[in-house]
C-alpha cells in the first residue's frame, strides 16, 4: 500500500497497463509534452515515447473517432478529453459510434476503449468548464460509466476499464486529483458493478458519487455527532453497470434514502436512482427518497455563487433529516 494522490493513482494505472499490454496507448490534447492539463499523464511520454503517448490536435470528435477505429482494429486506446465539457464535441463518436457499433454490427466489432474526462465544479471555471455529465452518459446503452471517489478506486477501476472490451466513459473530478488515499501497489482490479459501502449505518442510506461520496462521508460524521443519526454511505463507483443490489439491501435496512450528486436535478443520477429505489423497494421505504443535486443553473463564476450552487454537507444533513422526519410525520 502507498499513499498517493488520485492523479498519481490514475497515472500508475495507465503505466502499469501499458507495460503489461503493448496494445494500450494514450492520446489526447496535451497529454504528452505538456504532461496533461491536470498532470495525470505526467511521465508517460518519457517512459513510453511518442508512439504510445500521442499529443493530438484540438479535434475532440476526431480524437474519439480515431480511438474507435483503433479499437476496432485491435488496439486499446485511452483517450483523454481535457474536460467533460469538451466531450460534448465528441458526442457523435461516443454515442452514435463507440456505443452503437458493437450492437448495430451484431457483435462483429468490439470497441475496447477508455474515454477519460474530468468534470465538476469548485475552481471558478465558470459555465463552460464545470459540468457534471454522469447522467448523460449513464443513459446510453453500450457504454460503461465509471466515477471514482478515492485514489484506490480510481486506480483499480481504470485498470479494469482498460482491460474491458466495451467503451468506457471514465469520469474524474477535478477537485479530487490532489486528494490523497491508500492505493494498492499490485494488480488490484476494482470490478465494475460493485458498489463500495464506505460507512456502515442503520438509520439512512446516503448514495454519493465522485466528490459527493466524500462530502457524504463528512455529512455522515456530522449526522452521528450532532443528531445521533447513523448513516450508511454507499459509493456505486460505476453507474453502468449499477450495483443496485447493494443499495437496495441498505435501504431494506435503513428504510430511508438520500442520493447526492453535483449534476443538474432534472433527469439526473439521483432522479434515476430514486426511481429505481422507489420501483424496487417501495415497501422498504418509510419516506420518499431525497435528492441532493447541483443547482439548476449553468455554473456561475463568482465564488460565492459557485459554492452556493454545489452541494455541501449541510445540504446532505438537511436531506437526511428531512427523510427521517418524513417517516415520523
Amino acid at each position: 500500500m502507498a499513499e498517493l494522490r488520485m492523479r498519481e493513482a490514475l497515472r500508475d494505472a495507465m503505466a502499469e497497463e501499458m507495460r503489461r499490454d503493448e496494445s494500450v496507448f494514450v492520446m489526447g490534447e496535451d497529454v504528452g509534452v505538456f504532461r496533461g492539463a491536470f498532470k495525470v499523464t505526467d511521465g508517460l511520454l518519457d517512459e513510453f515515447g511518442e508512439r504510445r503517448v500521442r499529443d493530438t490536435p484540438i479535434s475532440e470528435n476526431t480524437i474519439v473517432g480515431a480511438g474507435v477505429g483503433a479499437a476496432m482494429n485491435g488496439l486499446r486506446p485511452i483517450v483523454e478529453l481535457m474536460t467533460v465539457n469538451f466531450s460534448l464535441l465528441a458526442l457523435d463518436q461516443i454515442i452514435n459510434h463507440a456505443a452503437a457499433i458493437p450492437y448495430m454490427f451484431n457483435g462483429q466489432a468490439k470497441v475496447p476503449m477508455v474515454i477519460r474526462m474530468p468534470g465538476g465544479g469548485g475552481h471558478q471555471l465558470g459555465p463552460t468548464h464545470s459540468h457534471s455529465f454522469e447522467a448523460l452518459y449513464l443513459q446510453v446503452p453500450g457504454l460503461l460509466v465509471a466515477c471514482p471517489s478515492t485514489p484506490g478506486d480510481a486506480k483499480g477501476l481504470l485498470k479494469s476499464a482498460i482491460r474491458d472490451d466495451n467503451p468506457v466513459v471514465f469520469i474524474e473530478h477535478e477537485s479530487l486529483y490532489g486528494v490523497k488515499g491508500e492505493v494498492d501497489d499490485g494488480e488490484e482490479l476494482v470490478p465494475f458493478g460493485e458498489a463500495r459501502v464506505r460507512r456502515e449505518g442503520s438509520d439512512v442510506t446516503i448514495v454519493g458519487i465522485l466528490k459527493m461520496a466524500n462530502v457524504a462521508m463528512e455529512a455522515a460524521e456530522t449526522l452521528a455527532r450532532e443528531h445521533g443519526v447513523e448513516a450508511e454511505v454507499i459509493d456505486p463507483r460505476t453507474l453502468r453497470p449499477l450495483d443496485l443490489d447493494t443499495i437496495l439491501a441498505s435501504v431494506a435496512k435503513t428504510n430511508h434514502a438520500v442520493i447526492v450528486e453535483e449534476g443538474w436535478p432534472h433527469g439526473g443520477v439521483g432522479a434515476n436512482l430514486s426511481a429505481l429505489i422507489t420501483e424496487q423497494a417501495f415497501d422498504d421505504l418509510d419516506a420518499p427518497p431525497q435528492r441532493v443535486t447541483g443547482a439548476d443553473v449553468h455554473m456561475p463564476y463568482s465564488k460565492r455563487l459557485e459554492q452556493a450552487a454545489i452541494p455541501h454537507q449541510e445540504h446532505i444533513v438537511s436531506a437526511a433529516l428531512a427523510t427521517l422526519e418524513g417517516a415520523m410525520a
Binding site: V64, P102, F105, N166, Q280
Partner: protein
C-alpha cells in the same frame, strides 16, 4: 485514356458492376414492396467508383463507407444474400437485422461499415489506419464518403490528423454532385473537392467516376502512396446517382434531362462497349457478365425472404461484450428478460416475453405494401409520379404500389 487490363480482369470488373446495378434495382423494387424498410440509398450510376476502388485493394486492406454501401460490401466479396437479408431485417443479414441498409458490415472481408452519420466514418478511418501503422502491418484503410461530408467538421479534423500523423489512409470522395437535394454549387464554396484538403497537407486528384479504369488507376496510386510512403491522399471521383438520394426522394431539385445526360455516360454500358471495341471481350461475354447478375440477385431475394425474423429474446445480444465482470445491471428495461430483481423476479421473464410479443405484434399491423409514412402523415403529396429512373412497371413487372415519398429525410452526402 488508360489502356484496358486483361480479359479476365475486364470481365470481372464488368460482372461486378452489373451485379451491383442489378442488386440495387432489385433492392429498390423490394423497398417498393415494403420488404425492405427504413431509408434506402441506392448507388445506381456509381458502380465504377465502387468497383474501380475495390478491384485494386488487397484482402488485408480496410474499406469504410457511408450509408450507400450495399455495393461496396458486395464489391468486397460479401455475399449478396446476406446484404439483401439485412435490408429485409432478417437474422441472416450482415448485421443480423440490427443495422439495416445504412449499416452493412463484414468484418471478415474488412468492410468496416456503412455509417448513417454523414462524415462519421472519417475519424474511424484514421483510427483504423493508426492501428495498422502501430502494429507494423501493411494494410491501408480506404475511406469513402460523399461530397456533402466534405463540409462536416470531421473532414477537416481528419485530414489534419491523417497528414500530421502520416497515416496509411486513402480518402475517396464520391462526388455525385448533390448532398441529399442540395447541389454542390449550393453547398460547397470550393466545388473542386480535390483541392479541399490541400491546406491540411492532403493533396488531391480529380477522376472521372464513370470510368472504372480511371478510378482503378488513381486508387492504385493512392494505395501505393499510403502503403509505401504513409502518405494520405484524396481522390475526388466525379460520379452520379440516377436514383434519388434515398428511395423516397421526390427529386424536385434536378431536371430529368440532367439525369438522362449522365445516363449517356453509364459506367457499365460504356465499359462494355469499350471492351468490345478493343477486342478484349466479345459481345457474348459482355451479355453473360450482365446476365449472371440476374440469377444471383433472384437467389438473394429468395434467401432473404426465407431467412427468419430475429427472435425477440435476442434483443439485448451484442449490446455489450460480456466478461466475467461487470456484474450488476447493464440495462434496466422492462422488455429485457434479464434484469428484474426483487419480488418481481420470479414473474418478470415470462411477463417480459409477453410484453415483447405484444410489442412485436405491431410489426404485423400495417399490411404489406400499405405502410404509412410517418414523414408524410396528414400530407397528401405523392411525388412518386415525378420519380426518374426505371420504374419497375416499365420492366413488365407488376405495378409497384405507390410508396409515398419521404419529405422529412435525413441529411446526406
Amino acid at each position: 485514356m488508360p489502356g484496358l487490363p486483361d480479359a479476365a480482369t475486364c470481365y470481372e470488373l464488368l460482372a461486378r458492376m452489373a451485379l451491383i446495378r442489378r442488386f440495387e434495382e432489385e433492392a429498390g423494387r423490394q423497398y417498393q414492396r415494403a420488404k425492405a424498410g427504413g431509408f434506402l440509398h441506392l448507388a445506381i450510376g456509381e458502380e465504377a467508383t465502387i468497383v474501380g476502388t475495390t478491384s485494386v485493394m488487397r484482402e488485408e486492406d480496410f474499406l469504410i463507407g457511408t450509408y450507400r454501401t450495399h455495393g461496396h460490401a458486395i464489391a468486397r466479396g460479401t455475399d449478396p444474400n446476406k446484404v439483401m437479408a439485412e435490408l429485409f431485417g432478417r437474422v441472416d443479414g450482415t448485421s443480423g437485422g440490427r443495422g439495416g441498409s445504412m449499416h452493412i458490415f463484414d468484418a471478415e472481408r474488412r468492410f468496416m461499415g456503412g455509417y448513417g452519420i454523414v462524415g462519421g466514418n472519417l475519424p474511424i478511418a484514421a483510427g483504423l489506419a493508426l492501428a495498422s501503422q502501430y502494429k507494423g502491418e501493411d494494410a491501408v484503410t480506404v475511406c469513402m464518403f460523399g461530397d456533402g461530408a466534405s463540409n462536416a467538421g470531421n473532414f477537416g479534423e481528419t485530414m489534419n490528423l491523417a497528414a500530421l500523423w502520416a497515416l496509411p489512409v486513402l480518402f475517396l470522395v464520391e462526388n455525385n454532385l448533390y448532398g441529399m437535394g442540395t447541389s454542390i454549387e449550393r453547398h460547397s464554396a470550393q466545388t473542386d473537392l480535390s483541392k479541399k484538403a490541400e491546406g491540411y497537407g492532403v493533396p488531391g486528384t480529380r477522376i472521372d467516376g464513370m470510368d472504372v479504369i480511371a478510378v482503378r488507376e488513381a486508387v492504385a496510386e493512392g494505395l501505393r502512396a499510403a502503403r509505401e510512403e504513409d502518405r494520405p491522399t484524396l481522390i475526388e471521383v466525379v460520379t452520379y446517382r440516377y436514383r434519388g438520394h434515398s428511395a423516397a426522394d421526390p427529386e424536385v431539385y434536378r431536371e430529368r434531362e440532367e439525369v438522362e445526360e449522365w445516363r449517356e455516360k453509364d459506367p457499365i454500358e460504356s465499359f462494355g462497349r469499350r471492351c468490345v471495341e478493343a477486342g478484349v471481350l466479345g459481345e457474348r461475354e459482355v451479355g453473360q457478365a450482365r446476365e449472371a447478375a440476374e440469377g444471383t440477385v433472384r437467389a438473394a431475394v429468395e434467401f432473404a425472404d426465407a431467412s427468419p425474423e430475429p427472435a425477440l429474446d435476442t434483443m439485448y445480444e451484442s449490446l455489450y461484450a460480456l466478461t466475467d465482470y461487470p456484474g450488476g445491471w447493464y440495462a434496466v428495461d422492462e422488455r429485457s428478460p434479464e434484469p428484474h430483481r426483487g419480488e418481481q423476479e420470479a414473474d418478470m421473464p415470462a411477463r417480459a416475453r409477453e410484453l415483447a410479443e405484444a410489442g412485436a405484434a405491431y410489426a404485423e399491423v400495417e399490411e404489406e405494401g400499405e405502410r404509412p409514412n410517418p414523414a408524410l402523415e396528414g400530407d397528401a403529396q405523392d411525388h412518386t409520379a415525378s420519380r426518374t429512373g426505371p420504374d419497375p412497371a416499365d420492366r413488365g413487372e407488376e405495378p409497384a404500389r405507390a410508396r409515398e415519398t419521404d419529405a422529412g429525410e435525413e441529411r446526406e452526402d
